[in-house]
Amino acid sequence: MKEIEEKIKETVKKLFKENKIDIFIGYSEGTLPLRSTPCLITRPEDIEKLVWNSYCFNNLAVYLPRFFLPQTQKKDVKLPRIGILAKGCDSRSIVGLIKEHQLPRENLYIIGIPCEGMIDIKKIQDAGCKMKEVEIVSAEEKNEKVIVENEDKKKIELKKEELLADVCTSCKYNVPVIYDVLIGKEKRKTKEEERAAIIEEFEKKPLEERWKYFQEQVSKCIRCYACRQACPNCYCKECFAEQTKPKWIGVTDNISDIMFYQMGRIFHQAGRCVDCGACVRACPVGIDLRIFTYKLIKDVKEFFRYEAGVSLGEVPPLSTFKSDDKQEFITEP
């Protein structure tokens, strides 16, 4: 990891020196244990801040569209050239955004990093550190282990493999699909089948049970819109959830309003979601959003043989029509 971190710094230094980028988006050390934080660098002297570790879980692609808003793209302004660190999922989001004409490829310099999986802080709980009881004051990554220290200076050793986020263990695109330079080239084994099995299991449940689960999950929502804001795909200037003319949904935390919001947002991800897990991680109340987004991914794959953000050439299913397109799902839910 340290090696990769050094290579990243070297590369970014070179990019600034050769005047290839104006801004670099990467990660720097977080203020909390088990956290790294996104960082935007404009001054070469800040390059030393960059880090690479198992806590770099934020999807950095979310920061890109704001630099290339349609109104600035039309005007005769010089658009910034942005360097960005991309894990597999970030790179897939970037592909999606390029395809949806939100980003000019020529203004991006992508440093791809084959990702070994990022830690899910919530998993620490399952690993025997109930956060209610244990306050982790520091954490250290060593080989395949994470050593956390509690407030009484007691060290607890945890296996990194057990702490990886679900989206990471089932990810099969850990190597970026688009990049200008690739640092490292490890392909990691995944448990995609296991994940698919969970969804298949869920699909088999009776309609009422699925509906109940959905209601239970979304009723936790406090309408903070963190899921939307953390999602690179949610770049709409004005979200349907906030439109007032016409007004689509109420602003309350009434179950029907929340459900409308969640369903609307999730369905807008059909054929676009790259399963990066940004929404799940951002949600402060722990809604199991992925069971819904993953179902969409699975359906799009089955019906249209399409996976979002994998190649720049493939036409997204929602942008095209083929006479042999599946349509049973419309009539037989």
Binding site: T37, M131, K132, I136, V137, E151, A226, T252, D253
Partner: protein
């Protein structure tokens, strides 16, 4: 002298004690659900998680619910909402902490075991909702009917920085009574007259505190205070920020902000709300004369917050919104209420999806050279 008011109740008696008050009060206690703690209705036999750190969603939702109906209207007549108490009627939105048995006769309630920082936050909200200029009957009614019993912190979190503000693990402001968890015993200390009367009326449950108990409490609090090791020097922050509206630092501070509402929605002192009319569904929302006026939380981090009817938005980007959040808490509120509207609970730090740490933001603002010289935006 003050020590005379200190009483002891056995921890194992607390559940029975609360049980005996169930008729008289609606009791809200910290409860675990899905791995988080939230204030919910006390049910007999369910133990109190004494060592809980803090709730994820702050207990401000008890007095300022996420959504509440102010009144309903029909062809020119108004019907006040019957949600006068904190316990919303059965048809109120799901998921709020105060949702409970609507058949309760009593309107009094007891908030048992909130953290001192959150209690202090109530006293800040009082200044807004019960100030000289405006009185908010919805908030005030709930507040007046409540006895607030806080629980001093034995185990602060790494994100706690109450000591940089006015707080400490046994801060008394905003509480009627404060409790200290001594292990087998709970030491109680009344703060307000309301709290004193409450304990006096229930005297049979308590006995005098011994010198040893008080010593133990003092030791625990010393230890706890030492555990709060993060902080920011906020001396004169109001004056510093007086000059800071146009400084270039705002361009950097907001950069990684995603613009979600977590920091404001989980904050115990953020109070901004939106008021809207919801028309009855059956008429399709068009030209109807029946509906409800609803108040719900709003956040300065949302673009819609300041969007004008003309389409103009005076806070068009994350930069202006982030600046507003900081300035409101640390400059405008000190101007208007002589108080910083932050209690240092650390919720916004702990839950920010991108680890945008308020302590860092404040520290960089505090150390930003001579602010007035740098006017570049």
């Amino acid at each position: 002298m003050e020590n005379l008011k200190l009483k002891i109740i056995k921890k194992k008696d607390v559940l029975n004690f609360l049980d005996s008050l169930k008729e008289e009060y609606n009791i809200l206690v910290p409860k675990e659900k899905d791995g988080d703690i939230r204030f919910s209705e006390f049910s007999s036999g369910e133990d109190i998680p004494w060592d809980y750190r803090n709730t994820k969603i702050s207990p401000k939702e008890i007095f300022l619910p996420r959504t509440e109906t102010l009144f309903s209207f029909k062809e020119g007549t108004l019907t006040p909402s019957d949600s006068g108490g904190v316990f919303a009627p059965a048809n109120e939105p799901k998921g709020s902490a105060q949702k409970t048995d609507s058949n309760k006769r009593t309107a009094n309630y007891l908030i048992f075991g909130i953290r001192p920082c959150d209690a202090q936050a109530f006293s800040l909200l009082d200044k807004l909702f019960g100030g000289d200029d405006f009185q908010d009957p919805y908030y005030l009614k709930r507040k007046e009917q409540a006895v607030i019993i806080s629980l001093a912190c034995n185990k602060p979190q790494i994100t706690c920085f109450c000591t940089s503000l006015k707080g400490k693990p046994d801060n008394e402001e905003g509480s009627d009574i404060i409790l200290f968890d001594l292990g087998e015993n709970i030491l109680t200390k009344p703060i307000t007259k309301k709290g004193e009367e409450f304990i006096e009326n229930l005297n049979s449950w308590f006995k005098e505190a011994k010198e040893a108990d008080i010593e133990k409490k003092n030791k625990l609090m010393d230890l706890s205070l030492k555990k709060i090791c993060s902080g920011v020097d906020l001396h004169n922050i109001k004056e510093k920020l007086d000059e800071a509206f146009d400084i270039s630092l705002w361009n950097e501070i907001h950069q990684k902000c995603l613009g979600c509402g977590i920091c404001t929605y989980l904050c115990p002192t953020c109070y901004c709300f939106n008021i809207i009319d919801e028309m009855d569904h059956e008429t399709g929302g068009l030209a109807t004369s029946r509906g409800k006026r609803i108040r719900c939380w709003d956040s300065c981090m949302f673009s819609l917050f300041t969007l004008h009817a003309s389409g103009h938005n005076p806070r068009p980007t994350f930069k202006e919104r982030m600046r507003q959040r900081i300035m409101h808490k640390f400059n405008y509120c000190p101007e208007n209420f002589k108080e910083i509207f932050c209690v240092g609970c650390g919720r916004c730090i702990r839950n920010c999806p991108v680890n945008l740490d308020l302590r860092e933001t404040l520290a960089s603002l505090m150390s930003f050279g001579s602010m007035s010289k740098d006017k570049k935006v």
